[in-house]
């Protein structure tokens, strides 16, 4: 058990910076409300260092709080589809040759009305991203990037047509949880067709965490800072794992 608290300039001083808006006018009462709110979040001390009106009915606060809350660091389980232990491009290709013995087919798309292709392109396009080549460059991968605004039905049909091993879905817009609906729908459609287990199902996007993806019925989720090698490593290992089980 290792107790960890926020750190300002002394161990366990518990210092945290906060800022937020309240739907009340700026002034002494607003500042006091802000302070009390922060205290209600389990902070022991709070100083509202700044307040400013945003309009007649809204006001902005900057505050510093001191908390005694802590967390047992040893009990924290990181759950990100991590770079740790992922193979590089050559590793992945060797792995495929050795354990699968044929080209792995991967289909990707940015689904629903999402038009943010830069993320999925970063994973799939030849040129890749940040000095990590994309899947199209992998000799042992056959990659199809369907681009943006692809309906889930169309994606499934295409995957079936090319006998895909894995489906990659990108969701960037998250407002009003539109991504949750899009992601869940794909799983439902696959399940309705009895095809869910046919694919390694991968979700990705800057606000997508592994946990979230798994909850939604995906095999894995990749957030900010993921590269093709992470994705490919996961996919091929998962395929082999499934073969074995």
């Amino acid at each position: 058990m290792r107790v960890v608290r926020p750190y300002g300039d002394t161990l366990d001083d518990g210092k945290v910076q906060l800022s937020f808006t309240l739907p009340v006018p700026d002034g002494a009462k607003g500042r006091e409300a802000a302070r009390k709110l922060v205290l209600s979040w389990g902070f022991k001390d709070c100083e509202v260092t700044h307040s400013h009106p945003l309009s007649a009915d809204f006001s902005f606060y900057v505050a510093y709080g001191k908390t005694e809350a802590s967390i047992d660091y040893d009990s924290v389980v990181a759950d990100e589809a991590e770079s740790d232990g992922s193979m590089d491009m050559d590793g992945v290709n060797a792995f495929i040759r050795e354990h699968i013995g044929r080209k792995v087919v991967i289909v990707g798309a940015c689904t629903g009305f999402d038009a943010h292709t830069v993320g999925i392109d970063a994973i799939m396009n030849m040129k890749g991203y940040n000095h990590h080549y994309g899947l199209e460059r992998y000799p042992m991968v056959e990659a199809y990037n369907l681009g943006a605004q692809v309906p889930n039905e169309k994606l499934i049909e295409f995957a079936a047509k090319v006998k895909a091993d894995a489906i990659l879905v990108s969701q960037v817009v998250t407002q009003k949880d539109v991504h949750l609906r899009n992601l869940a729908e794909l799983v439902e459609l696959l399940e309705a067709r009895g095809e869910r287990r046919k694919y390694v199902l991968v979700a990705g996007g800057p606000r997508i965490g592994n946990k979230l993806a798994v909850e939604l019925g995906y095999d894995v989720g990749f957030g900010k800072g993921s590269y093709a090698d992470h994705v490919a490593s996961f996919v091929v290992r998962k395929m082999v794992e499934r073969q074995r089980s």
Partner: protein, 528 residues
């Protein structure tokens, strides 16, 4: 405008001539065509409004009816049948709209006397022209009444709640905080709808539907806050996507002040058919020109998908093309809010100087244009503190180069659509920076042969080379081959091609004629 970069005037003129040459064949194509949305826009100007119980808008019903009756009817222009129905039925525009919404088919009526139709149409044209002129005058009156009260550059803030009534609250607060321009961001994918939804809306993703009612609601709210603030608040929306001209028409009728409107954005970034887009953009721009609406072009988009340092020339090339297509549609320089953006990788050594060069170059090449300058977005991250610093540098460059329309960067750009406090912090930062270095543009010169001058000259050279290449093959082919934004768009691919209409020899559109006459631009008469 000061000339600080000492760009060769001949080279700039040559680049403009290249753009003119490139746009010329496109103009010829455009003049021979109309589209479903051009027709619907015409109907909207004539007064067609409302929707049927399924939400299909009256202008769509009319066009669909006419096409269903006989596809070739559309070659005459849809207005003929709509006005004919008005004349024949003797009802008012509102009455006719209601009937159409209830199921009445205008094409079911035989064509009546041409002269009567033309008289009635002339009346409708006058009425629309008057309303739009009235809007324009009201805007001008208020802007001169409150002259000097707006910030320079204009501070532009977006609202994007998805709900027009929430948008109003956010917009009002933003205006009170100091915004000059409010843009209501559209819901994801509205640009792919081939109709404009009807009525007030409260459900959108990443933005709010552009509807005429929503325009009206926001306009009224902003007028109110403007009266309190004694500062004209400009309203912005998107005349973009599959309904460019219709939205332009709605904006003209509801006194919008700016419109996102680009001659090629739909093609490249929304995969809309290129012929359709070129036709649509012209009519939309004619309406904007007549309404005195500033268009904001979308060059910033090139830099979200391509590298801003490497592909800086695509911005200038697009600005020159947008300018040329704008001129063709009667837009004067002062309504041409050509776009660009502060999108270089923040780790580039001297990135600030390159941004300065690019912005100053735009300023000098387009001296009368109210350039629209976009903030960093692509390299914004979850680190709001770094983001704030980048926005500070961006605000600096904007003021240092006398940009006209300044989109405020949000420190939370990579995280969520703006919170109310994010907007406030953006305004506060811009006001601080711009006041603090206000005289910089006048006070500072660039060293001959230095980084800034050299960079500007290089980008101009690259632009010229690029335009020469495009000119060599023609714009349609260039787009097809992926010369722009690194995407290839087949000529007959993309959305909306089926909505293109070849004008017949008797194509009739008195609104178009009126606009051409008043704007003093060359005729779109007849087919080719």
């Amino acid at each position: 405008m000061q000339n600080k970069l000492h760009l060769s005037a001949e080279r700039v003129a040559y680049a403009r001539r290249l753009a003119e040459k490139i746009a010329e064949p496109v103009a010829r194509f455009i003049d021979g065509h109309s589209s479903m949305t051009v027709e619907r826009a015409t109907l909207r100007l004539a007064g067609a409004d409302g929707a049927n119980p399924d939400g299909v808008p009256v202008p769509n019903l009319v066009v669909d009816q006419v096409r269903a009756a006989d596809p070739s009817f559309l070659e005459d222009g849809v207005l003929l049948r709509y006005v004919n129905a008005l004349v024949k039925s003797g009802s008012t525009v509102a009455e006719l709209n209601a009937k159409i919404a209830a199921g009445f088919d205008v094409s079911s009526l035989p064509l009546g006397e041409r002269a009567a139709i033309e008289r009635k149409a002339a009346e409708l044209v006058d009425r629309a022209a008057e309303r739009i002129r009235g809007n324009r005058e009201r805007r001008e009156a208020k802007r001169s009444e409150w002259a000097g009260k707006n910030n320079d550059p204009l501070l532009y803030l977006i609202v994007a709640t998805g709900n027009i009534y929430e948008d109003v609250k956010q917009a009002t607060a933003a205006a009170e905080q100091g915004a000059d321009v409010i843009a209501v961001i559209r819901t994801t994918a509205q640009s792919l709808l081939d109709y404009v939804p009807y009525g007030a809306t409260t459900e959108g993703f990443g933005g709010t539907y552009a509807t005429q009612e929503n325009f009206r609601i926001m306009r009224a709210a902003l007028d109110e806050v403007a009266e309190r603030q004694k500062r004209y608040i400009l309203l912005t929306n998107y005349a973009s996507g599959l309904c460019m001209p219709e939205i332009a028409a709605m904006g003209a009728l509801e006194r919008l002040d700016m419109m996102l409107n680009d001659s090629m954005y739909g093609i490249l970034f929304r995969d809309i058919n290129m012929y359709r887009t070129f036709v649509d953009q012209k009519f939309s721009r004619m309406i904007n020109a007549y309404a005195g609406i500033i268009i904001n072009t979308g060059e910033d988009n090139y830099l979200t998908t391509s590298d801003a340092y490497e592909k800086a020339y695509t911005v200038l090339a697009s600005q020159l093309l947008n300018e040329r297509f704008g001129f063709q549609a009667g837009l004067p320089p002062k309504l041409l809010g050509l776009g660009h953006a502060f999108e270089m990788d923040p780790t580039i050594r001297n990135g600030f100087l390159y941004e300065l060069a690019q912005a100053q170059m735009a300023r000098e090449i387009f001296p009368e244009h109210p350039l629209k300058y976009m903030p960093p977005t692509k390299f914004m991250s979850g680190d709001i503190f770094k983001g704030l610093a980048m926005n500070t540098m961006f605000n600096f460059v904007s003021k240092a180069t006398n940009q006209g329309i300044h989109l405020l960067g949000m420190l939370t750009e990579a995280i969520h659509t703006p919170f109310m406090m994010d907007r406030f912090l953006a305004v506060d930062n811009a006001k601080y920076v711009m006041n603090n270095m206000e005289g910089f543009a006048d006070d500072v010169e660039f060293k001959k042969g230095g980084v800034v001058m050299t960079r500007a000259r290089e980008v101009l050279d690259q632009t010229i080379a690029f335009l020469e290449e495009v000119g060599g093959m023609g714009l349609f082919d260039a787009i097809e081959r992926g010369l722009f934004a690194e995407v290839k768009r087949p000529k007959d691919g993309g959305k909306g091609l089926e909505g293109l209409i070849k004008k017949g020899p008797t194509y009739w559109n008195p609104f178009e004629e009126r606009l051409e006459r008043e704007l003093g631009i060359s005729g779109a008469k007849g087919g080719n």
